[in-house]
């Protein structure tokens, strides 16, 4: 339950569902928007993590 990637994916999933229902009206639009938001959150976090990798903590 404390696996960070799993929790991040779960958070992205909830947010993507929320915004697709908040901002899109049609089912097809919602599906497209869901995958866009979900992909952007998950891939964005992974990319950002790799970009920060060379920088030391302190």
């Amino acid at each position: 339950m404390v696996d960070h990637l799993t929790l991040m994916v779960l958070d992205a999933l909830l947010i993507a569902v929320f915004f697709s229902f908040l901002w899109k009206r049609e089912k097809r639009e919602r599906m497209m928007y869901f995958w866009k938001v979900f992909g952007a959150l998950v891939l964005g976090a992974i990319v950002l993590g790799w970009l920060m990798y060379p920088f030391p903590r302190s």
Binding site: M1, V2, H4, L7, L10, D11, L14, I15, V17, F18, F21, L22, R25, E26, K27
Partner: protein, 132 residues
């Protein structure tokens, strides 16, 4: 297919609708006839909130000298009745030594901010800016 609506927007004055929307996630949408969306919003916000509590997250209150805690407190209180019930039964104290503490906080703050967006959405529906 567009969602079927049963009207009901005039059942309560807009400020009352917004307060109800804040107190219970999805209730505002339910009262203006957006039932299927109301159910989805309720489920999403409650799951996020319960995950936050389960993951030892903290329902953050303002701390003197910590300006960011004021913003976090707004997001925490944004959870509405979930916030008050959790506080009343002693949940959401936060366990800073827990490996999931930060994730718990993230879920709790996310849930609160999503609920506040629902209040704004109910406002837009109530004023006619959004017709679905």
């Amino acid at each position: 297919m567009p969602e079927r609506r049963d009207g009901g927007a005039a059942a309560f004055p807009l400020p009352v609708l917004m307060v109800l929307a804040w107190l219970v996630p999805g209730l505002g949408h339910m009262l203006v006839g957006r039932r299927s969306r109301a159910v989805v919003f309720f489920v999403v916000v409650v799951i996020a909130f319960l995950l936050g509590i389960t993951l030892d997250g903290e329902l953050i209150l303002p701390h003197a000298g910590d300006p960011l805690s004021y913003l976090a407190a707004i997001a925490s209180v944004g959870n509405g009745v979930l916030f008050f019930v959790a506080h009343a039964v002693g949940l959401g104290q936060g366990v800073v030594t827990s490996p999931a503490y930060e994730f718990g906080n993230t879920f709790l703050l996310t849930a609160g901010m999503m609920n506040m967006l629902l209040v704004l959405d109910v406002h837009d529906i109530g004023t006619g800016k959004k017709d679905w």
